[in-house]
Amino acid sequence: MIPELGHFALILSLALSAALFVVPLWGAYRLSQPLMLAGRSLAAGQLLMVTVAFVILGWAFLHDDFSVSYVANHSNSLMPVYYKLSAIWGGHEGSLLLWILMLSGWTFAIAIFSRSLPLDMQARVLAVMGFVATGFLMFILFTSNPFDRILPLSPQEGADLNPLLQDPGLIFHPPLLYMGYVGFSSVFAFAIAALLTGKLDTAWARWSRPWATVAWAFLTLGLALGSWWAYYELGWGGWWFWDPVENAAFMPWLVGTALIHSLAVTEKRGLFKSWTILLAIFAFSLSLLGTFLVRSGVLTSVHAFANDPDRGLFILVFLAVVVGASLLLFALRAPVIKNAPSFNLLSRETLLLANNILLMIAMITVLFGTLFPLVADALKLGKYSVGAPYFNLTFIPFMTIICLLMGIAPESRWKRTNGSPLAKVVSGPAVLSLALGIAVPILLGDFAFSMVLAVFIGSWVGLTTLWDLWRKSQNSQGRWVGLRKLSLSYWGMIIAHCGIAVSVLGVCLNSHYADMDKVRMDVGQPVTVAGYQFTLEKLEQVRGPNYMADQAVVVMSKDDRVLRVLKPQKRRYFASGQIMTEVALDPGFTRDVYVAMGDKINAQSWAMRIHYMRFVRWIWLGALMMALGGMFAVIDKRYRKRKSAASPTPQEA
C-alpha cells in the first residue's frame, strides 16, 4: 500500500509541475499578480510531493520491501543500513527520482531566494523550471517507475546492490553530481526567461551568476568524488578513463567554467550577452545529452545502467523539444551586436573571450570523441571506439594555452591593458616557474621534457595567481588590512585558480611518475617496491555483513620502520556471487601506496599489485580548492543585497 502512495505522490507532483509551467507563465502574459505569485506555492507543493515519494522509496529500502521491483533489484536484507539508503540512487529509476528531488529543491530555492527579481521575471523562471520538471516526471512515470511491484510472486530476498556501489564514495557522488547538473537548469531558466522578456540587461547576468557558480562548484565536487571513487574502488590505479559517462559530466563542466567567466564579462561590462545566453543553454543541454547517452544504451560504457531504447527515445524527444525550442528562441530573440566592441586587443575582455573559446573547443573535441562511435555507426562508416590517446592528444594542447593565459588574466584590466607593465609583472613568476620546471623533474629522479613543460605550466598558474594576491593586498595600513580588504569573490578566484594549478601538477606528475609492480607475495617473505618493503604477515578469512573475504595482512615498512599495516581484501558477495577487489591504501601528500590482491597462487601466496601513485591526491585537492573558490565567490556580500541593481559599480570580477 505504501509504495502506491509514493506512486500517487509522483503523479501529484506531475500535476503540480505542469501547473507550475502554465500558471505563472499565463500570469506573466496577462500581468496577473495572483497567477504569477502562484508559482511560489506550486514550487513548494511540487517539492513536498517529490520529497514524499523519495521518503517512501527510502522506507521501502529500509523495510526490505522486495515486492517493489526496484528494491528487489538493488538491495538485500544483509546490506548495512547506510547502503540500503544510498541504494535509493543506486539504479536508474531511483537516481532519476533523486534528480527530480534536487530539481524541485532548486526550483523552491529560486522561489525563496529570488524575491528581489521583478515578479514577472521570477514567474517566467519558475515556469521554465516547471517545464523541465514536467518532462522528467513524465519520464519517470511513463518509462521508469521506481514503485513498480512484483506481485503476486514477490522474491523473498533482494538481488543486492552492485558491490562496486557499496562504498562511501557512492553515497555522495551522485547527489553532488546531480546538484551540479540540475543547478545548470536554473541558469538555463534565467536565460530563457530573459529571452522571453527581451530584458537582456546586465541584471539577469547578476542574478544568474551565483546560481551558475554554485552549480559549477557542485559539479566540480561530484566529478572529483567520482574520479576518487574510480581510483580506489575499481582498483586499476587509474582515476579518469575518458569513458562516455565521465565525458557526459565533464562537458557541462567545461561549458559551466566558460559560463561563469562569461557571466562576469556580461555583468561587469554588458558585453558578450548572446554568447553568455548560448553558454547557459549549452550547459543545460549537455546535461540533458549526458542523461540521454548514459541511460539509453547508445554508447557502451563501464557505467552499468539498465539500458532501454524506450527510455532513450523519451529523453531524445524531450531533448529535441527543450534544446530545439530554446535554440530557436535564442535565434529569434538574442541581441545582435551592431556596434564594434569597446575594448582593445589586450584587455581582460579579450582574455576571458579567449578562455571561453578555448574551453568551447576543448568541449567540442570531447563531444566529438564521445559521439564519433555513435555517428560513425549511424552513418554506416563502421564500428569505432575512441580512447584515451585521442582525448589526451586533443585536450592537452588547449588546456596548456588556457593555463598560460590564466597567468596573465588576473593582472589584466578591463577595456585595455598596457602590454609592457604586464610583461614586467609576470616576468618574476615566469622565471621562477621555469626554474621549478627544471628542478622538480631532476629532484624526482627522472628527467623528461614533457615534465619540464608540465611543472612550468602548473607553477606558472599558481605563482602568477599568488603574485597577483601579493600585489593586490598591498596597503598603506599593512598587509593584513590589505588582505582583509579584498572581496570574497576575489579570494574565490585566487583559491580556484590555485586549485587548477594543484590539479594540473597532480595530473601531469602522476601520469609520468606513477609506478606499478606485479609481485608474488609469500607469507613471511618481504618484497621491495619503490623503496618500501612489503611483508605478507598472514592470510585470513573475514566475514562482512554481506560478503566473505580473503584478507591479506601486509606490513609496509621503510628502513626497518613500520609505516602501516595494509589489509587488502578479495570479497565474494553472497547474493550475486560477485568477486570484488578492495585495495588497501597508505595515503600521503606526495604519494599514495596501494596494494591490491590479484590471484591466489596457493594457501601461502598470492599475486598482488603494488601501486606507487605519486601526487595523486593533488588532483582531488585541486578540485576541492576550485569548489571552495566557487563557494567563496557566491557568499560575497554583493549577491546578498536585496535589490535588483541594474548598474553595478565596477569592481573585481
Binding site: 552499468a304 527515445l313 531524445l316 530545439g324 535564442f330
Partner: protein
C-alpha cells in the same frame, strides 16, 4: 546576416538529432569480429570440470554457441538462467571460463545449474585474447566445422535470441 548566424546552433542540433535517433536503433555491442568466416583459433586447454586437456576438435561436429563467461562477471549471472533455458531446448552451448578460478567456477556451475556441455578453463585469457574478447559475456556462433559465423557482445536474452542469434542458429542447422 547577423541574425542568421544565431541559427547556427539550432542547425547543428537538427543535424545531430536524426543521428541520435538512428543510433538508438543500433546496438553498440554488436561488434564484427575479425575472425568471422574463419575457424576457431587453435588451443589446448583443460576444462573447468576436469584436468583433461582438449583442443578445437572437441568443439566441432555440431552447431554450437561458444559462450565466454566468468564468476566475476555480473552480467554473466544475469545471462545464466537464459542459457539454462536454451540448453534445456537442446541447443549445444560450450563455455569459455575466462580469467577465472577453477573452484569458484565449479561452485557457480553447481549452484546455478550447468548449461554447458563443458567449459574450457581459460584462466590466462589466452583463447579469449585470440578471439578478441573485449569483455564477458560474449557469445560466438560456430557451425559444424568450427567456423565462426557471428559474435554477440553482452547478454544473450529473449530479444537477442529471437531476433538475431536464433534465426542464424537455425539457418546453420538447416544447411
Amino acid at each position: 546576416m547577423g541574425r542568421l548566424k544565431l541559427f547556427l546552433p539550432l542547425i547543428v542540433l537538427l543535424i545531430l538529432l536524426p543521428l541520435f535517433y538512428v543510433g538508438l536503433r543500433l546496438d553498440p555491442s554488436a561488434m564484427p569480429s575479425a575472425l568471422i568466416g574463419n575457424p576457431l583459433p587453435g588451443f589446448s586447454l583443460s576444462t573447468v570440470e576436469s584436468e583433461e586437456v582438449v583442443g578445437p576438435e572437441a568443439v566441432t561436429g555440431e552447431v554450437t554457441l561458444l559462450n565466454v563467461w566468468a564468476t566475476w562477471c555480473f552480467a554473466c549471472k544475469a545471462e545464466h538462467p537464459y542459457l539454462n533455458k536454451l540448453a534445456g531446448e537442446g541447443i549445444r552451448i560450450i563455455g569459455v571460463n575466462y580469467k577465472d578460478e577453477r573452484t569458484a567456477a565449479q561452485e557457480w556451475l553447481r549452484d546455478l545449474h550447468n548449461p554447458y556441455e563443458f567449459s574450457l578453463y581459460d584462466n590466462e585469457g589466452r583463447l579469449g585474447l585470440e578471439l578478441g574478447v573485449t569483455g564477458a559475456p560474449e557469445t560466438y556462433l560456430l557451425d559444424r566445422d568450427g567456423i565462426i559465423h557471428y559474435r554477440h557482445i553482452g547478454v544473450v536474452n529473449d530479444k537477442v535470441w529471437n531476433e538475431v542469434l536464433g534465426p542464424k542458429y537455425r539457418e546453420l542447422q538447416g544447411e
